[in-house]
Protein backbone atom coordinates (compact mmCIF):
# COMPACT_ATOMS: atom_id res chain seq x y z
CA UNK A 1 0.00 0.00 0.00
CA UNK A 2 2.79 2.37 0.91
CA UNK A 3 4.64 1.47 -2.26
CA UNK A 4 1.46 2.01 -4.29
CA UNK A 5 0.95 5.42 -2.73
CA UNK A 6 4.56 6.37 -3.30
CA UNK A 7 4.44 5.18 -6.91
CA UNK A 8 1.24 7.18 -7.46
CA UNK A 9 2.89 10.24 -5.94
CA UNK A 10 6.00 9.81 -8.05
CA UNK A 11 3.92 9.22 -11.15
CA UNK A 12 2.04 12.44 -10.56
CA UNK A 13 5.20 14.42 -9.91
CA UNK A 14 6.73 12.88 -13.02
CA UNK A 15 3.69 13.81 -15.10
CA UNK A 16 3.17 17.38 -13.80
CA UNK A 17 5.77 19.45 -15.64
CA UNK A 18 5.11 17.67 -18.96
CA UNK A 19 1.35 17.39 -19.10
CA UNK A 20 -0.69 20.64 -19.55
CA UNK A 21 1.76 22.74 -17.56
CA UNK A 22 1.08 25.91 -19.56
CA UNK A 23 -2.65 25.54 -19.00
CA UNK A 24 -2.08 25.07 -15.27
CA UNK A 25 0.30 28.04 -15.13
CA UNK A 26 -2.23 30.26 -16.88
CA UNK A 27 -4.95 29.07 -14.52
CA UNK A 28 -2.79 29.71 -11.43
CA UNK A 29 -1.79 33.18 -12.61
CA UNK A 30 -5.37 34.12 -13.53
CA UNK A 31 -6.57 32.98 -10.09
CA UNK A 32 -3.81 35.08 -8.47
CA UNK A 33 -4.76 38.06 -10.67
CA UNK A 34 -8.45 37.71 -9.81
CA UNK A 35 -7.64 37.61 -6.09
CA UNK A 36 -5.52 40.76 -6.34
CA UNK A 37 -8.16 42.46 -8.49
CA UNK A 38 -10.80 41.65 -5.91
CA UNK A 39 -8.74 43.19 -3.10
CA UNK A 40 -8.01 46.29 -5.21
CA UNK A 41 -11.68 46.68 -6.11
CA UNK A 42 -12.77 46.14 -2.53
CA UNK A 43 -10.55 48.88 -1.11
CA UNK A 44 -10.31 51.18 -4.07
CA UNK A 45 -13.79 51.42 -5.59
CA UNK A 46 -15.29 54.01 -3.25
CA UNK A 47 -12.11 56.17 -3.24
CA UNK A 48 -12.16 55.97 -7.05
CA UNK A 49 -15.72 57.29 -7.16
CA UNK A 50 -14.80 60.08 -4.75
CA UNK A 51 -11.75 61.08 -6.81
CA UNK A 52 -13.73 61.07 -10.06
CA UNK A 53 -16.53 63.05 -8.41
CA UNK A 54 -14.27 65.65 -6.84
CA UNK A 55 -12.66 66.26 -10.24
CA UNK A 56 -15.93 66.68 -12.14
CA UNK A 57 -17.22 70.15 -13.02
CA UNK A 58 -18.21 72.24 -11.03
CA UNK A 59 -15.47 71.18 -8.62
CA UNK A 60 -16.87 70.78 -5.12
CA UNK A 61 -14.82 71.90 -2.16
CA UNK A 62 -13.10 69.39 0.10
CA UNK A 63 -15.03 70.64 3.13
CA UNK A 64 -18.30 69.71 1.42
CA UNK A 65 -17.15 66.11 1.50
CA UNK A 66 -17.09 65.98 5.27
CA UNK A 67 -19.67 68.48 6.48
CA UNK A 68 -23.30 67.42 6.80
CA UNK A 69 -24.78 70.58 5.31
Amino acid sequence: MASRVSSKGKGKAGRGPDDGSTARCVKDWSTWAMKKAKVVAHYGFIPLIIVIGMNSEPKPHLSQLVSPV
Binding site: K38, A41, H42, F45, I46, L48, I49, I50, I52, G53, M54, S56, E57, P58, K59, P60, Q64, L65, P68
Partner: protein, 321 residues
Protein backbone atom coordinates in the same frame (compact mmCIF):
# COMPACT_ATOMS: atom_id res chain seq x y z
CA UNK B 1 -64.27 76.95 -50.12
CA UNK B 2 -61.53 77.14 -47.57
CA UNK B 3 -62.34 80.74 -46.57
CA UNK B 4 -66.10 80.09 -46.09
CA UNK B 5 -65.35 77.08 -43.85
CA UNK B 6 -63.02 79.17 -41.72
CA UNK B 7 -65.57 81.98 -41.23
CA UNK B 8 -68.29 79.55 -40.23
CA UNK B 9 -66.30 77.37 -37.83
CA UNK B 10 -64.01 79.58 -35.71
CA UNK B 11 -64.84 83.02 -34.20
CA UNK B 12 -61.25 84.34 -34.23
CA UNK B 13 -60.68 83.76 -37.90
CA UNK B 14 -57.67 81.51 -38.35
CA UNK B 15 -56.17 81.42 -41.83
CA UNK B 16 -57.70 78.65 -43.96
CA UNK B 17 -54.37 76.87 -44.03
CA UNK B 18 -54.38 76.68 -40.22
CA UNK B 19 -57.83 75.09 -40.07
CA UNK B 20 -57.05 72.68 -42.87
CA UNK B 21 -53.98 71.56 -40.96
CA UNK B 22 -56.00 71.25 -37.74
CA UNK B 23 -58.69 68.90 -39.12
CA UNK B 24 -56.90 66.08 -41.02
CA UNK B 25 -54.69 64.80 -38.15
CA UNK B 26 -57.78 64.04 -36.05
CA UNK B 27 -59.24 62.02 -38.90
CA UNK B 28 -55.93 60.19 -39.27
CA UNK B 29 -55.92 59.18 -35.60
CA UNK B 30 -59.32 57.58 -35.91
CA UNK B 31 -58.49 55.58 -39.03
CA UNK B 32 -56.28 52.52 -38.58
CA UNK B 33 -52.58 53.16 -39.06
CA UNK B 34 -50.77 50.76 -41.29
CA UNK B 35 -48.07 48.93 -39.34
CA UNK B 36 -44.58 49.64 -40.59
CA UNK B 37 -42.74 46.43 -39.75
CA UNK B 38 -39.40 47.96 -40.57
CA UNK B 39 -39.76 50.74 -38.02
CA UNK B 40 -40.69 48.96 -34.82
CA UNK B 41 -39.82 50.49 -31.44
CA UNK B 42 -36.92 49.17 -29.42
CA UNK B 43 -38.11 46.68 -26.80
CA UNK B 44 -37.38 46.92 -23.08
CA UNK B 45 -34.30 45.03 -21.87
CA UNK B 46 -34.90 41.34 -21.20
CA UNK B 47 -34.37 41.58 -17.45
CA UNK B 48 -36.85 44.46 -17.23
CA UNK B 49 -39.62 42.64 -19.02
CA UNK B 50 -41.69 42.51 -15.84
CA UNK B 51 -40.62 45.89 -14.47
CA UNK B 52 -44.07 47.44 -14.09
CA UNK B 53 -45.31 44.46 -12.15
CA UNK B 54 -42.16 44.34 -10.01
CA UNK B 55 -42.42 48.04 -9.20
CA UNK B 56 -46.00 47.66 -8.03
CA UNK B 57 -45.87 44.26 -6.39
CA UNK B 58 -42.42 44.16 -4.83
CA UNK B 59 -41.67 47.35 -2.91
CA UNK B 60 -38.67 47.27 -0.59
CA UNK B 61 -40.41 46.17 2.56
CA UNK B 62 -38.32 46.36 5.69
CA UNK B 63 -38.67 45.94 9.43
CA UNK B 64 -37.32 48.47 11.89
CA UNK B 65 -35.93 51.95 11.48
CA UNK B 66 -34.40 53.25 8.30
CA UNK B 67 -32.85 56.65 7.74
CA UNK B 68 -31.27 57.71 4.45
CA UNK B 69 -29.49 60.96 3.84
CA UNK B 70 -28.27 61.86 0.36
CA UNK B 71 -26.10 64.88 -0.06
CA UNK B 72 -25.39 66.20 -3.53
CA UNK B 73 -22.04 67.85 -4.01
CA UNK B 74 -22.70 68.76 -7.61
CA UNK B 75 -25.00 67.68 -10.43
CA UNK B 76 -23.26 64.38 -10.96
CA UNK B 77 -21.66 63.46 -7.65
CA UNK B 78 -23.40 62.71 -4.37
CA UNK B 79 -22.67 60.95 -1.11
CA UNK B 80 -25.19 58.99 0.89
CA UNK B 81 -25.36 57.93 4.52
CA UNK B 82 -27.83 55.32 5.61
CA UNK B 83 -28.65 53.91 9.03
CA UNK B 84 -30.71 50.79 9.59
CA UNK B 85 -31.78 49.26 12.91
CA UNK B 86 -34.05 46.29 12.91
CA UNK B 87 -34.22 42.57 12.42
CA UNK B 88 -33.17 40.59 9.43
CA UNK B 89 -34.12 37.05 8.70
CA UNK B 90 -31.35 34.52 8.75
CA UNK B 91 -32.04 31.04 7.39
CA UNK B 92 -31.49 28.54 10.18
CA UNK B 93 -31.25 24.79 9.77
CA UNK B 94 -33.60 24.00 12.62
CA UNK B 95 -36.77 26.02 12.14
CA UNK B 96 -36.83 27.85 8.81
CA UNK B 97 -35.68 31.39 9.44
CA UNK B 98 -34.90 33.20 12.65
CA UNK B 99 -34.91 36.93 13.22
CA UNK B 100 -31.62 38.43 14.24
CA UNK B 101 -31.47 42.04 15.43
CA UNK B 102 -29.00 43.95 13.29
CA UNK B 103 -27.89 47.53 12.99
CA UNK B 104 -25.63 48.93 10.36
CA UNK B 105 -24.41 52.15 8.83
CA UNK B 106 -23.85 52.30 5.12
CA UNK B 107 -21.80 54.90 3.31
CA UNK B 108 -22.30 55.37 -0.39
CA UNK B 109 -20.94 57.43 -3.24
CA UNK B 110 -22.69 57.96 -6.57
CA UNK B 111 -21.33 59.41 -9.76
CA UNK B 112 -24.01 59.79 -12.44
CA UNK B 113 -22.99 60.91 -15.89
CA UNK B 114 -24.91 60.23 -19.09
CA UNK B 115 -22.10 57.98 -20.23
CA UNK B 116 -20.76 56.58 -16.96
CA UNK B 117 -22.56 55.63 -13.80
CA UNK B 118 -20.69 54.49 -10.68
CA UNK B 119 -22.53 53.53 -7.51
CA UNK B 120 -20.74 52.14 -4.48
CA UNK B 121 -22.08 51.28 -1.06
CA UNK B 122 -19.98 50.01 1.82
CA UNK B 123 -21.32 48.65 5.12
CA UNK B 124 -19.79 48.67 8.55
CA UNK B 125 -18.91 44.99 8.29
CA UNK B 126 -16.86 45.62 5.18
CA UNK B 127 -19.26 44.43 2.50
CA UNK B 128 -19.11 46.44 -0.72
CA UNK B 129 -21.93 46.73 -3.26
CA UNK B 130 -20.64 48.11 -6.51
CA UNK B 131 -22.52 48.94 -9.72
CA UNK B 132 -20.89 50.31 -12.83
CA UNK B 133 -22.65 51.21 -16.07
CA UNK B 134 -20.53 52.48 -18.91
CA UNK B 135 -21.58 53.36 -22.47
CA UNK B 136 -18.71 52.09 -24.56
CA UNK B 137 -20.32 53.23 -27.81
CA UNK B 138 -23.79 54.50 -28.73
CA UNK B 139 -25.22 51.01 -28.80
CA UNK B 140 -22.92 48.95 -26.58
CA UNK B 141 -23.12 49.20 -22.80
CA UNK B 142 -21.04 47.47 -20.15
CA UNK B 143 -22.63 46.84 -16.76
CA UNK B 144 -20.82 45.43 -13.75
CA UNK B 145 -22.57 44.33 -10.55
CA UNK B 146 -20.52 43.11 -7.64
CA UNK B 147 -20.94 42.25 -3.96
CA UNK B 148 -17.55 41.89 -2.34
CA UNK B 149 -17.12 40.62 1.18
CA UNK B 150 -14.21 40.07 3.51
CA UNK B 151 -15.06 36.41 3.90
CA UNK B 152 -13.46 34.33 1.19
CA UNK B 153 -15.64 32.64 -1.41
CA UNK B 154 -18.70 34.73 -0.63
CA UNK B 155 -18.13 37.48 -3.16
CA UNK B 156 -20.20 37.68 -6.30
CA UNK B 157 -19.71 39.59 -9.51
CA UNK B 158 -21.42 39.81 -12.86
CA UNK B 159 -20.35 41.45 -16.11
CA UNK B 160 -23.01 42.29 -18.71
CA UNK B 161 -22.48 43.48 -22.25
CA UNK B 162 -25.64 44.97 -23.77
CA UNK B 163 -26.10 45.70 -27.42
CA UNK B 164 -29.07 47.81 -28.48
CA UNK B 165 -30.13 47.42 -32.08
CA UNK B 166 -32.91 49.17 -34.01
CA UNK B 167 -35.69 46.91 -32.82
CA UNK B 168 -33.87 44.31 -30.77
CA UNK B 169 -31.58 44.00 -27.78
CA UNK B 170 -28.95 41.38 -27.08
CA UNK B 171 -27.05 40.78 -23.85
CA UNK B 172 -24.14 38.60 -22.86
CA UNK B 173 -23.42 37.88 -19.18
CA UNK B 174 -20.41 36.49 -17.37
CA UNK B 175 -20.44 35.85 -13.66
CA UNK B 176 -18.33 34.25 -10.97
CA UNK B 177 -18.73 30.53 -10.36
CA UNK B 178 -18.33 30.22 -14.14
CA UNK B 179 -21.79 31.53 -14.96
CA UNK B 180 -22.36 32.44 -18.59
CA UNK B 181 -25.62 33.68 -20.02
CA UNK B 182 -27.02 35.38 -23.07
CA UNK B 183 -30.42 36.76 -23.93
CA UNK B 184 -32.10 38.34 -26.92
CA UNK B 185 -35.36 40.22 -27.29
CA UNK B 186 -36.99 41.41 -30.50
CA UNK B 187 -40.04 43.54 -31.30
CA UNK B 188 -42.34 41.70 -33.69
CA UNK B 189 -45.23 44.15 -33.76
CA UNK B 190 -45.52 47.65 -32.29
CA UNK B 191 -47.01 46.10 -29.16
CA UNK B 192 -45.54 42.61 -28.91
CA UNK B 193 -41.96 41.61 -28.23
CA UNK B 194 -40.55 38.12 -27.86
CA UNK B 195 -37.31 37.11 -26.24
CA UNK B 196 -35.30 34.15 -25.07
CA UNK B 197 -32.33 33.46 -22.84
CA UNK B 198 -29.82 30.69 -22.27
CA UNK B 199 -27.47 30.22 -19.35
CA UNK B 200 -24.71 27.84 -18.34
CA UNK B 201 -23.41 27.22 -14.82
CA UNK B 202 -19.90 25.88 -15.09
CA UNK B 203 -19.30 24.47 -11.65
CA UNK B 204 -22.55 22.55 -11.48
CA UNK B 205 -22.69 21.71 -15.19
CA UNK B 206 -26.25 23.01 -15.40
CA UNK B 207 -27.71 24.83 -18.34
CA UNK B 208 -31.11 26.28 -19.04
CA UNK B 209 -33.14 28.03 -21.66
CA UNK B 210 -36.10 30.33 -21.23
CA UNK B 211 -38.62 32.19 -23.37
CA UNK B 212 -40.52 35.39 -22.69
CA UNK B 213 -43.21 37.44 -24.37
CA UNK B 214 -44.41 40.93 -23.58
CA UNK B 215 -47.50 42.64 -24.92
CA UNK B 216 -48.01 46.25 -23.99
CA UNK B 217 -50.28 49.07 -24.95
CA UNK B 218 -50.69 52.48 -23.33
CA UNK B 219 -53.01 51.06 -20.74
CA UNK B 220 -51.80 47.59 -19.98
CA UNK B 221 -48.79 45.32 -19.96
CA UNK B 222 -48.99 41.53 -20.05
CA UNK B 223 -45.93 39.31 -19.87
CA UNK B 224 -45.32 35.58 -19.82
CA UNK B 225 -42.08 33.76 -19.08
CA UNK B 226 -41.22 30.09 -19.09
CA UNK B 227 -37.86 28.50 -18.37
CA UNK B 228 -36.43 25.02 -18.54
CA UNK B 229 -35.74 25.23 -14.80
CA UNK B 230 -39.46 24.59 -14.47
CA UNK B 231 -40.62 28.12 -13.72
CA UNK B 232 -43.61 29.69 -15.43
CA UNK B 233 -44.37 33.32 -14.58
CA UNK B 234 -47.23 35.41 -15.87
CA UNK B 235 -48.06 38.95 -14.93
CA UNK B 236 -50.56 41.58 -15.94
CA UNK B 237 -50.59 45.30 -15.11
CA UNK B 238 -53.49 47.57 -15.97
CA UNK B 239 -53.23 51.31 -15.73
CA UNK B 240 -56.68 52.25 -14.56
CA UNK B 241 -56.05 55.99 -14.54
CA UNK B 242 -53.14 58.43 -14.35
CA UNK B 243 -52.80 57.83 -10.64
CA UNK B 244 -53.85 54.23 -10.15
CA UNK B 245 -52.56 51.00 -11.55
CA UNK B 246 -53.40 47.44 -10.61
CA UNK B 247 -51.09 44.49 -11.05
CA UNK B 248 -51.37 40.75 -10.70
CA UNK B 249 -48.81 38.03 -10.87
CA UNK B 250 -48.77 34.24 -11.08
CA UNK B 251 -45.78 31.99 -10.62
CA UNK B 252 -45.58 28.21 -10.91
CA UNK B 253 -42.51 26.17 -10.06
CA UNK B 254 -42.70 22.73 -11.60
CA UNK B 255 -39.83 21.25 -9.61
CA UNK B 256 -41.20 22.10 -6.18
CA UNK B 257 -44.87 22.14 -7.26
CA UNK B 258 -45.15 25.60 -5.78
CA UNK B 259 -47.81 28.04 -6.93
CA UNK B 260 -47.91 31.68 -5.89
CA UNK B 261 -50.25 34.33 -7.05
CA UNK B 262 -50.49 37.92 -5.91
CA UNK B 263 -52.56 40.96 -6.59
CA UNK B 264 -51.53 44.53 -5.88
CA UNK B 265 -52.32 48.18 -6.36
CA UNK B 266 -50.17 51.24 -6.88
CA UNK B 267 -51.51 54.71 -6.16
CA UNK B 268 -49.24 57.53 -7.32
CA UNK B 269 -50.72 60.67 -5.84
CA UNK B 270 -49.35 64.18 -5.60
CA UNK B 271 -47.85 63.91 -2.13
CA UNK B 272 -47.53 60.20 -1.65
CA UNK B 273 -47.14 56.83 -3.26
CA UNK B 274 -49.02 53.91 -1.76
CA UNK B 275 -48.45 50.33 -2.84
CA UNK B 276 -50.20 47.33 -1.41
CA UNK B 277 -50.40 43.67 -2.21
CA UNK B 278 -52.23 40.52 -1.24
CA UNK B 279 -50.65 37.13 -1.70
CA UNK B 280 -51.85 33.57 -2.02
CA UNK B 281 -49.41 32.63 0.76
CA UNK B 282 -51.57 34.58 3.17
CA UNK B 283 -49.35 37.64 3.12
CA UNK B 284 -50.68 41.21 3.09
CA UNK B 285 -48.27 44.08 2.66
CA UNK B 286 -48.37 47.84 2.19
CA UNK B 287 -45.73 50.47 1.57
CA UNK B 288 -46.28 54.20 1.86
CA UNK B 289 -43.91 56.97 0.81
CA UNK B 290 -45.18 60.38 1.84
CA UNK B 291 -43.53 63.58 0.72
CA UNK B 292 -43.47 65.88 3.71
CA UNK B 293 -41.43 68.65 2.19
CA UNK B 294 -39.06 69.20 -0.71
CA UNK B 295 -36.62 66.33 -0.49
CA UNK B 296 -37.96 64.88 2.79
CA UNK B 297 -39.88 61.63 2.52
CA UNK B 298 -41.50 59.63 5.26
CA UNK B 299 -41.71 55.87 4.72
CA UNK B 300 -43.98 53.30 6.34
CA UNK B 301 -43.78 49.61 5.60
CA UNK B 302 -46.02 46.84 6.87
CA UNK B 303 -46.13 43.14 6.13
CA UNK B 304 -48.40 40.65 7.82
CA UNK B 305 -47.93 36.96 7.10
CA UNK B 306 -51.02 35.25 8.41
CA UNK B 307 -49.81 31.74 7.72
CA UNK B 308 -46.51 32.03 9.57
CA UNK B 309 -47.88 34.54 12.10
CA UNK B 310 -45.07 36.94 11.27
CA UNK B 311 -45.69 40.68 11.63
CA UNK B 312 -43.20 43.20 10.31
CA UNK B 313 -43.56 46.94 10.62
CA UNK B 314 -41.01 49.53 9.67
CA UNK B 315 -40.72 53.28 9.50
CA UNK B 316 -38.12 55.62 8.16
CA UNK B 317 -37.16 58.89 6.60
CA UNK B 318 -35.33 59.76 3.44
CA UNK B 319 -33.67 63.15 3.21
CA UNK B 320 -32.26 64.36 -0.08
CA UNK B 321 -33.17 63.45 -3.63
Amino acid sequence: MGSSVSHAAAPPPPPPAGLAVALPPKAEEKSEKKVDYLNLPCPVPFEEIQREALMSLKPELFEGLRFDFTKGLNQKFSLSHSVYMGSTEVPSPSSGTIKVPTAHYEFGANFLDPKLMLIGRVLTDGRLNARVKCDLTDNLTLKINAQLTNEPHFSQGMFNFDYKGKDFRAQYQMGNNAFYGANYIQSVTPHLSLGSEVFWLGHQRKSGIGFAARYNTDKMVATAQAASTGIVALCYVQKVSEKVSLASDFMYNHMTRDVTSSFGYDYILRQCRLRGKLDSNGCVAAFLEERLNMGVNFILSAEIDHRKKDYKFGFGMTVGE
